[in-house]
């Protein structure tokens, strides 16, 4: 285990700076900024009687940020961690080092996942702060229950970690991880995750939703019927399920990565 963690740590440190300096980090930052811009516009321009309606908050903080931006940013930064080494043909150097191949995936995933988690965490904190201020002057942010803001940020960060693990593993398992990742985000998570029925339980979004709303289902207000077509898991079960998905995703990717041949053109 020690050589595995040692190699993963070295690769994490070496690639963290590379990730931050990469052009795709700018794309990711731009994507993460979109909900913040939207929330800024709502907080500065829109005038409501009372606080911002829950539909507006949900559209930006949940549907746009959690369901769309979180997987997209994870895909942009983590989807290519293995594919990039293969396409750039630098994988040869790592494969001919005395390290477990799985450590390459773990180290490179960490180097992508941590910026994703931090970036999206900051972005969600900004979004909820801005939306909390939206509305008429006499209403302040207190209309949101205790701990909800923190839970939203944690939800986004967990989503970022889990999606980045899934997409990093997809890079080891599939030939076109970005295309598959897009299909997964919009078709599987976006469609299946919102379709009434227990099929929702097969999606990451269901567990994120469970974690966020298990304690405050009343928050959804009039949206409740449309939002909770399936009973939510408890917050604890949701965290366990998310952790399990992350570990299984990475383990599957690492297993395949350790055995797969990558035939590179000269």
């Amino acid at each position: 285990m020690k050589p595995f963690l040692h190699a993963a740590g070295l690769l994490f440190r070496a690639h963290l700076w590379r990730t931050l300096r990469a052009r795709r980090s700018l794309v990711a930052a731009a994507l993460a900024l979109l909900p913040v811009i939207l929330a800024t516009i709502v907080s500065q321009v829109a005038r409501f009687e009372g606080p911002a309606p829950i539909e507006v908050v949900f559209s930006i903080a949940w549907y746009f940020h959690v369901q769309t931006i979180v997987p997209l940013v994870a895909l942009v930064l983590a989807g290519g961690v293995v594919a990039e080494e293969i396409e750039d043909r630098t994988i040869t150097y790592l494969f001919t080092r005395p390290i477990p191949r799985a450590s390459i995936l773990l180290g490179r995933w960490l180097a992508a996942a941590i910026p994703v988690v931090v970036l999206l965490g900051l972005s969600s904190a900004a979004v909820i702060a801005l939306l909390g201020r939206a509305g008429s002057a006499e209403h302040t942010a207190e209309w949101l229950p205790d701990g909800f803001r923190t839970r939203l940020v944690v939800t986004v960060m967990m989503g970022a970690a889990v999606y980045s693990a899934i997409f990093a593993a997809a890079g080891a398992l599939l030939k076109h991880p970005i295309l598959v990742g897009l299909a997964y985000t919009f078709v599987f998570e976006g469609f299946l995750g919102n379709l009434p029925g227990s099929n929702q339980k097969a999606t990451v979004i269901y567990y994120l939703k469970s974690f966020l709303f298990a304690k405050n289902p009343e928050l959804t207000g009039d949206l409740r019927e449309a939002f909770f077509t399936v009973s939510l898991a408890s917050a604890g079960s949701a965290v366990r399920a998310l952790l399990l998905i992350l570990v299984i995703g990475l383990a599957l990717g690492a297993w395949r990565f350790s055995r797969r041949e990558y035939v590179l053109a000269a």
Binding site: R18, R89, S258, L264
Partner: protein, 310 residues
């Protein structure tokens, strides 16, 4: 004694394409050149040796072990791939230090070894610049440096002279010679026999995925020298020149025709290229035949290897 390399009926197919076919050979050690024209299967062979890919059939053993994903073996071998791939946004020093750290060296050792390896490739002054600013030759030096930095027992190099200027080639050949003299086993591929000749007499010859010959280069060259070669000459008085040339013993046959530009052309088959060219020089100096161009029609390796296949 364990062979450095032992292959038995080794084959590798890419779908319907044969990369390597039934190669059975053994290399005891020393410096060995892997020669063959482009597409001969050299890179496939080397990738099988370093365990980057698995055989489709047969076996390969490197230092007595199966190389695929063999971590312990990777401490003992160094590989310089043919592809021009490096982390563009890192410096040569950072790249080598990372690979050495992954190889289990302490930070201090990794630093010292990286500096030493890059110094051996004359990269000291430029080792802290980003790879994206390097010339082709400098990039090739970095690729070689990462292969030798951990002082492997067995060095596998795929076309290591690619991108190097003549001076660079000399320096790198000298480095390989020193490594070989110090006991490192070196297997390097090249499609230029001249390069191989400068470094070793021991060659493995591949063609179209098959092992054609293995042994001392002089023996192979002797075989090549007996191979009739064709020389094409464009001359205004081609028929007169043909009459003169055919009388000489090293000329086997002469055909007169026209080329695509409708110029008169001689196609001469000779058993000894060197003496023939000397003779041609003498003939051309003595009488005006209007010689426009002379070229060896089958001097390229493809023709040589075609001959060896027959």
């Amino acid at each position: 004694m364990t062979s450095v390399l032992a292959c038995h009926e080794l084959g590798r197919y890419y779908g319907q394409v044969v990369g390597l076919n039934e190669v059975t050979t053994e290399v005891q050690g020393g410096v060995v050149g892997l020669v063959g024209p482009n597409g001969a299967g050299k890179s496939t062979f080397l990738r099988l040796i370093v365990g980057e890919i698995r055989p489709s059939r047969g076996t390969v053993r490197v230092l007595g072990e199966d190389p695929f994903a063999n971590r312990e073996l990777y401490r003992r071998i160094g590989f310089c791939p043919q592809q021009d791939a490096l982390y563009e946004d890192m410096s040569a020093f950072e790249i080598l230090r990372l690979y050495l750290r992954l190889g289990g060296f302490s930070p201090k050792d990794a630093r010292a070894r990286a500096e030493h390896a890059l110094a051996r490739l004359n990269m000291t002054e430029r080792m802290h610049r980003r790879v994206s600013t390097y010339s082709k030759g400098m990039r090739q030096r970095v690729r070689i440096a990462q292969a030798i930095a951990h002082e492997p027992e067995f060095l596998v190099l795929d076309e290591p002279m690619t991108g190097l200027d003549p001076l660079g080639r000399r320096e790198v050949l000298e480095l390989f010679r020193i490594l070989g003299a110090n006991g490192t086993h070196v297997l390097f591929s090249s499609h230029i026999l001249y390069e191989v000749e400068h470094l070793t007499a021991e060659i493995v010859l591949l063609h179209r995925g098959r092992l054609l010959a293995k042994g001392a280069l002089p023996d192979v060259r002797a075989l090549l020298s007996r191979h009739p070669r064709r020389v094409e000459i464009i001359a205004r008085r081609a028929r007169d020149l043909a009459r003169v040339l055919i009388s000489h013993e090293e000329v086997l046959s002469v055909r007169v025709g026209t080329n695509q530009e409708r110029e008169e052309q001689l196609s001469v088959e000779t058993r000894a290229v060197g003496p023939f060219f000397r003779r041609l020089n003498a003939v051309a100096a003595g009488e005006r035949f209007g010689i426009g161009a002379v070229r060896s029609a089958d001097a390229n390796l493809e023709a040589v290897f075609d001959y060896l296949v027959q």
